[in-house]
Symmetry: C2
Subunit: 110 residues, 2 copies
DNA sequence: ATTGATACCTTGTACCGCAAGGTACTAAAA
DNA sequence: TTTTAGTACCTTGCGGTACAAGGTATCAAT
């Protein structure tokens, strides 16, 4: 129960930075959805498909991302997402916003 | 529009740590709702009444907070909230969770 | 032809933040 | 003594979003 509570807290915190995380990963390398999920999981950010797909679509519609189809040797084709310049710009803004929040919490918890 | 976008991002990030912020402020001093809003605003965390009241009630129902009524010389009585020991315990857990996320983003953005 | 693996996507539910509106108490002005 | 202003409490309705669950499609191997 307390365990559950803290898990809730964690996922709520993660939620707030999910978009930031996705753009960050894509800034390093283009990726398709399942790959993104794996890379985020490695970074201890849990995302499921039902969350990610609509989110990627939203970001694409905002002009932050584009995608291209690529054949795969082992299964259906993959939709590789990559950052647009608008996406890169927003990522820089996010860096600032994030820095500000980290500072704020440093002060609040001092 | 881009402005709007970054404001959205910021508030989404803040949202993820709202409960953490509230417990942090109450850890320093008991406070009533309007006072909490002011203190958070000073820390650049914007919260409105319609957000805060239900949130405080939720946290109280989870046993993280208690409150007491206190008369005021200039208006209606005030509901002062304070942390319970359960709330203090959770706050320590939140510290860990927060630290973890900050580290994660350091790595992701490196 | 069927199974398993991989990859895409949608639907329904539940939660939560926020704008807006509402109630109640106190003190001071009209 | 009614009204106004200030303070503080709380609720309602809307919209957005994460997530569980379920669905479709492709390829390779049995």
């Amino acid at each position: 129960m307390n365990e559950n509570n803290i898990e809730n807290i964690k996922s709520q915190m993660r939620r707030g930075v999910l978009e930031y995380c996705i753009l960050s990963v894509l800034d390093k390398n283009d990726a398709y959805a399942s790959e993104l999920i794996d890379q985020l999981k490695d970074a201890r950010i849990i995302v499921v498909e039902g969350t990610l797909y609509p989110l990627l679509t939203r970001q694409k519609n905002q002009g932050l991302l584009t995608y291209r189809w690529e054949e795969s040797t082992q299964g259906p084709p993959r939709k590789y997402y990559s950052l647009t310049s608008k996406g890169r710009d927003l990522l820089l803004e996010m860096d600032k916003a994030w820095k500000e929040i980290v500072e704020t919490l440093d002060i609040l918890r001092k």
